[in-house]
């Protein structure tokens, strides 16, 4: 059971225990983490589950795919380590992952 910590824009941490194979959007929604809208329901077709991967984890999480990259282009809060949470699948290698939430979702 990998654990993920989501840190809101105001600095409030939400630690969540997730099942391996779940994506980070679903884990947030299932556990009532605020600040993720997930309008499209996890199909990489909006940009409302934008998260900023903590620099310490960015190498292990990896860069966005092509379609994801296009969607991230819609958000002005994009950073070097931005990802869509629905496209990051959790496994034991990501146990302890830290994700920062932007101020807004587009």
């Amino acid at each position: 059971m990998p654990s993920v910590t989501y840190i809101t824009h105001d600095g409030v941490p939400y630690a969540v225990e997730a099942v391996s194979g779940t994506n980070c959007m679903q884990a947030a929604i299932d556990n009532g983490v605020p600040g993720i809208d997930a309008d499209c329901g996890g199909q990489c077709s909006c940009a409302t589950c934008h998260v900023i991967v903590d620099p310490a984890w960015s190498a292990r999480v990896g860069p966005p795919g092509t379609a994801e990259n296009g969607m991230l282009g819609l958000t002005p809060e994009r950073t070097e380590t931005s990802r869509l949470a629905c496209q990051v699948t959790l496994d034991d290698g990501l146990d302890g992952l830290v994700l920062h939430l932007p101020e807004f979702q587009m």
Partner: protein, 416 residues
């Protein structure tokens, strides 16, 4: 070629191949739902061989719409996103009718104007204006909510975003109304093509004048100044049809959609008094209600794509070059994606899961501004009025693109 008038047809028994949901009269009389329910169940990817707009495919299920939206390589937005083609000798362009990479740089030039960070600055101004508009309304007598509230509020907002001369703001409303309101472009009959071109010509001239002023003072944060600064857009005046297309996109996108959702909310709450009661008991439901209103109204009926290759979808073979029309009004009534989709519920779970903004790279740029205007409108309405009572039938717009409400007779009852 004789085509059947859908209003004369029984949606249950008409042969599937005869169904033509491009007929604007369907939306004028709010009779589209039964046709789309039948298509979603029996022919979710449906080919209409004969219509006023030529042959086209209808995509009617939520998930299929998301799939088409997400694949811009197979489903191109060029040359037009209306079911209709544009006249060859009057073809406007803007980023909504472009594919990447051209789309990306053109959209990026103006996206910042409606980004949430900027909207935070605007919230106080919008709330104050909503309050002024509402305080000027007559109480206890019948008036048109569309003209006095929906149009006034969205036009003021648009004038602010463009930094357009405020006292002339209703010209923006007019340009928005006539932008595609011909029989050939949307099934509307508001203007002739000749009249449309003449008025859009005035629109272009007016904005070229503003552009000259703004280009000379490059620090402005209005949309025109941003276009004049943007690397991909600063030469727009030398490409007048591209400039006009961009203006039309921003004017219609920032006006018709929110206007009709503000009106649609009044209709929905009046038709569902138990939901109005929930709202009075708990105005904290307003942010959630806003999403439900947008789904319920579905102010943009469709967007069109063009297949760039032969492709299978829903068991059908769409051929290269075919028109592919995504009907948002249908996706937003799809019971496989939305629980009890014909019910208006202001406390609906996952209310944001609707297709009214579209998905993919063309997803509505001003979605957060639209939501903000709706939220502030209802927050200020609830502070003042017990009941915005609908006292007659709404007059709906004849168009296959905009699901509009042209007139809405209401009477206000003050809070006790």
């Amino acid at each position: 070629m004789t085509m059947r008038n859908m209003l004369d047809c029984d949606p249950q028994s008409i042969p599937l191949e005869h169904i033509d949901v491009s007929q604007a009269e369907l939306y004028e009389h709010d009779r589209q739902d039964a046709f789309f329910t039948r298509l979603r169940a029996e022919s979710p990817v449906h080919r209409c061989a004969e219509s006023a707009f030529g042959p086209y495919w209808s995509i009617t299920r939520f998930d299929d719409i998301v799939a088409v939206e997400s694949d811009f390589e197979t489903f191109s937005s060029e040359p037009n996103i209306l079911i209709a083609d544009q006249p060859d000798d009057f073809e406007v362009r803007s980023f909504i009718t472009m594919d990447p990479p051209e789309h990306d740089s053109n959209r990026a030039a103006v996206q910042g104007a409606v980004a949430p960070q900027n909207l935070k600055q605007l919230e106080g101004v919008i709330r104050e204006r909503v309050g002024q508009i509402l305080d000027g309304l007559p109480v206890g007598e019948t008036f048109d909510w569309v003209d006095r509230v929906s149009i006034e509020l969205t036009t003021q907002m648009l004038a602010t975003l463009f930094d357009f001369p405020f006292e002339e703001r209703r010209r923006l409303t007019r340009w928005s109304d006539i932008a595609i309101a011909t029989p050939e472009l949307s099934g509307s009959a508001l203007v002739t093509e000749e009249q449309r071109r003449a008025e859009l010509g005035e629109c272009l001239q007016t904005f070229l004048g503003l552009w000259q002023q703004r280009a000379a003072r490059p620090e402005g944060f209005d949309l025109i100044s941003m276009l004049a600064r943007g690397e991909a857009t600063r030469d727009l005046p030398s490409r007048p049809m591209d400039l006009l297309g961009t203006l039309m996109l921003l004017i219609v996108g920032g006006n018709d959609t929110t206007r009709n959702s503000i009106s649609g909310g009044v209709v929905a709450l009046n038709r569902n008094p138990e939901e109005y009661a929930k709202l009075r008991a708990n105005p904290g439901l307003i942010p959630n209600m806003v999403s439900e209103i947008i789904r319920w109204q579905s102010p943009v009926l469709h967007m069109r794509r063009r297949a760039t290759r032969d492709v299978e979808l829903g068991g059908q073979t769409i051929r290269e070059g075919d028109k592919v029309v995504m009907w948002y009004i249908s996706g937003n009534r799809d019971g496989d994606a939305i629980l009890d989709p014909f019910a208006f519920r202001i406390d609906r779970e996952r209310a944001r899961h609707h297709v009214a903004f579209g998905f993919g790279i063309h997803r509505c740029m001003g979605n957060r501004l639209g939501e903000l205007q709706l939220r502030l409108t209802w927050e200020e309405v609830m502070k003042r009025f017990e009941f915005v009572e609908l006292v007659g039938e709404p007059v709906r717009t004849r168009s296959n693109f905009i699901r509009g409400i042209a007139e809405l007779p209401v009477r206000l009852h003050r809070r006790h």
